[in-house]
């Protein structure tokens, strides 16, 4: 998993490139926590057009970050999920807590 980020107008943009499943969950989790802990923002946008694969382990990682951000009153959004990721978001209802924005 390759993670890039940028902060613009108090929004933390996180770009996930690669696959998010059991093999990459642990590193992704700690990278995301580092980013979240070292930035001040009002919202986080996950850019998912480079995320080629995700399973329910990845859902667990994203929900974990969501809970952490919610405690800090930070909103979470996702952008441009690939079809497989879109399908898993729908199957698990994840769009309800992380709305898709265009």
């Amino acid at each position: 998993m390759n993670i890039k980020y940028q902060v613009a107008n108090k929004v933390l943009h996180i770009y996930l490139n690669g696959e998010l499943s059991e093999g990459t969950a642990q590193n992704t989790r700690s990278s995301l926590d580092n980013l979240i802990d070292s930035n001040n923002m009002v919202s986080v946008v996950f850019h998912l057009n480079g995320l080629s694969f995700m399973d329910s382990t990845g859902i667990g990682v994203l929900i974990g970050r969501y809970k952490k951000l919610k405690q800090r009153m930070t909103d979470v959004y996702v952008k441009e999920p690939t079809p497989q990721v879109e399908k898993i978001f729908r199957a698990t209802g994840l769009f309800d807590i992380m709305p898709k924005i265009s």
């Binding site: 696959e19 499943s21 059991e22 093999g23 989790r29 694969f53 399973d55 329910s56 382990t57 859902i59 667990g60 990682v61 929900i63 974990g64 079809p83 497989q84 399908k87 898993i88 199957a91 698990t92």
Partner: protein
Amino acid sequence: MSKKLRVLKPNEIKVKKEIKEKPSASSSLNKMTLIVDAHHHNEAFVRSTVAAFCVPLNPSIEEINDIKTAVSEAVTNCAVHGYEGRGGEIRVECVIDTASNFVHITVSDRGIGIDNIDEAIQPLFTTKPHFERSGMGFTVMQSFMDKLEVKSEKGKGTTIELFKSIANL
């Protein structure tokens, strides 16, 4: 000079393409068995290999992704829940039928088994919430495949069977 036997490393992957009892080049059935260690690196290998094996069925990209996702869930379950991260052997059998455009995948472990299958397959149920497990694995398998069967015996292991028809448009 004697030839040294090559010792397999614990994480080495054994791939065996099984020959049917009556091998026939014209048969519509084709079967493969993978035996891998429950190592987190192998989950991606298994899902990609099973997906590649299903290519003769002419699946759509969506169908290939459905199979990959369900296999990923099943293999992760073996490693995380069946063997609780301690490692063990995961067996994956895949049968495709190019006559009926059908795929049947069996994923089994010899881990701790499931206490209560009805409870385990409920959305959001997880025995490991503190490890950020979403509890959505079985839900994903059910929604991405046509049919799911779970057999488990306490202390003996768990077998998950996944079935899918490929539209072959």
